[in-house]
């Protein structure tokens, strides 16, 4: 590993200026902190965290809609654990559960389908949040519910897709990105070719990285080498899991159930073609029309700067509430709740490391 660190140092010297490398994925953010690798980087190489924590980019009005659903006597809400403590405008799913609402934490969308089979008198609503890695698993659960003829399984879908969100950040005047460490497991599904337009249109290098500390260092080295040579290509460091074409079976399933739509990202706003909505063909499983879900204007905590954190404009240390009013036990925003959230990473692994 030290050889890579040394090469990073040499390349940084060759580049001769400060560079911002955005690790788009929340799992990368956590891995970088956990392993302490940020401290191994030269002072001119900045790793900035991006919008790749699915829970964090989910708008407050979605949480509010999920809360309204779980308050209905005929509904059981099934969700991945990370959403439980995310604050909505007034409450959280965890608070609602404590107050008696039926909210179940599941490990897989398949578990929610099983829940529907076992509770035929109830409507099971699965909270479909996540990027291209998760969307095919939710698509598979909708298809299997359809094959089983289930009439009490629904998905409140807010899936988001990466490429146009990354593009939106390149238009942001407040943040300057010199290279992307692209999300490894999103790319397992989509294939690396998806990032080519970023290199061609914006001349920004993209390297798909894995999740071991070595992978992240190697991806950093590959990005710096491209910057030093004046290149902007898509390269794959995580080649043990990622190829150009991706998982075709998963892509097909995703296209069968979902179609592209515009989506609202916390902190970034509406990004055209960056979301997935359930196709008409599967409308019977779409909680929005089937259960009459309405998205009301939301009130996120006024002091919370998750939006700026997600765009890489500030680090959590620049949020006045960080570590004082806002902590993992009493979180004000999703970035402090999620196991992939940047504020949670800074809190857990300490300010000293974060400042590096």
């Amino acid at each position: 590993m030290m050889v890579v660190v040394q090469r990073i140092g040499e390349l940084a010297e060759r580049v001769g200026r400060d560079v911002n490398l955005m690790e788009v994925c929340g799992t990368h953010t956590m891995a970088a902190f956990r392993s302490g690798l940020r401290q191994l980087l030269p002072s001119t190489v900045h790793l900035i965290s991006g919008p790749g924590c699915p829970v964090c980019v989910t708008d407050t009005n979605y949480i509010d809609a999920a809360i309204a659903l779980c308050r209905r006597a005929d509904v059981i809400v099934a969700t991945f654990g990370d959403l439980m403590r995310v604050p909505g405008s007034e409450s959280s799913l965890e608070n609602e559960r404590a107050a008696g609402a039926e909210v179940r934490v599941v490990y897989s969308p398949t578990d929610a389908v099983t829940l529907a089979q076992e509770n035929s008198a109830k409507k099971i609503v699965f909270l479909g949040v996540g990027f291209e890695t998760t969307a095919p698993t939710v698509a598979a659960s909708i298809v299997s519910a359809s094959k089983a003829g289930l009439q009490n399984f629904f998905v409140l879908a807010a899936h988001k897709t990466m490429p146009h969100a990354m593009e939106a950040l390149l238009h942001d005047q407040q943040v300057k990105i010199d290279g992307f460490i692209c999300p490894g497991h999103v790319t397992v599904i989509t294939g690396a070719a998806m990032y080519r337009f970023i290199c061609e249109k914006y001349r920004i290098p993209c390297v798909v990285g894995g999740f071991e500390p070595f992978d992240m260092l190697k991806a950093t080295e590959m990005l710096l080498a491209q910057i030093a040579d004046g290149r902007a290509d898509v390269e794959v460091e995580y080649s043990r899991s990622v190829n150009d074409r991706g998982n075709v079976a998963a892509q097909k399933l995703m296209a069968e159930v979902f179609e592209e739509c515009d989506a609202g990202w916390r902190g970034i706003g509406n990004i055209p073609r960056s979301g997935l909505t359930i196709r008409m063909k599967y409308a019977a499983f779409d909680a929005v029309p089937a259960l009459g879900v309405r998205f009301e204007p939301a009130r996120p905590h006024p002091g919370c700067r998750c939006g700026d954190v997600l765009r890489g404009v500030i680090t959590p240390l620049e949020c006045k509430l960080f570590g004082k009013a806002c902590t993992p036990t009493d979180p004000f925003g999703p970035c402090m709740v999620s196991s992939e959230g940047t504020c949670a990473a800074y809190f857990k692994y300490g300010k000293r490391q974060a400042a590096a």
Partner: protein, 77 residues
Amino acid sequence: MCLAVPAKYVELQGTAATISVECALREVDVSLIEEPRLGDFVLVHAGFAIHKWDQSEVDEWETIRRGLEVAAGGGGG
């Protein structure tokens, strides 16, 4: 949600499989994998196998893991 470590099928039945990952057994769905076979290594996300690793990819992962252990153990000061 995502286990970036190789998991091995120990049982297969239609689209349902049991995997062994880091000494624990778990149920996963294999409908996103073409031609799953007993003994294959896969990457798992949210209860689904999402990618099949071939032996050389598993070996690479093991090398990286070992390298990390050596570096962490040797860099004690």
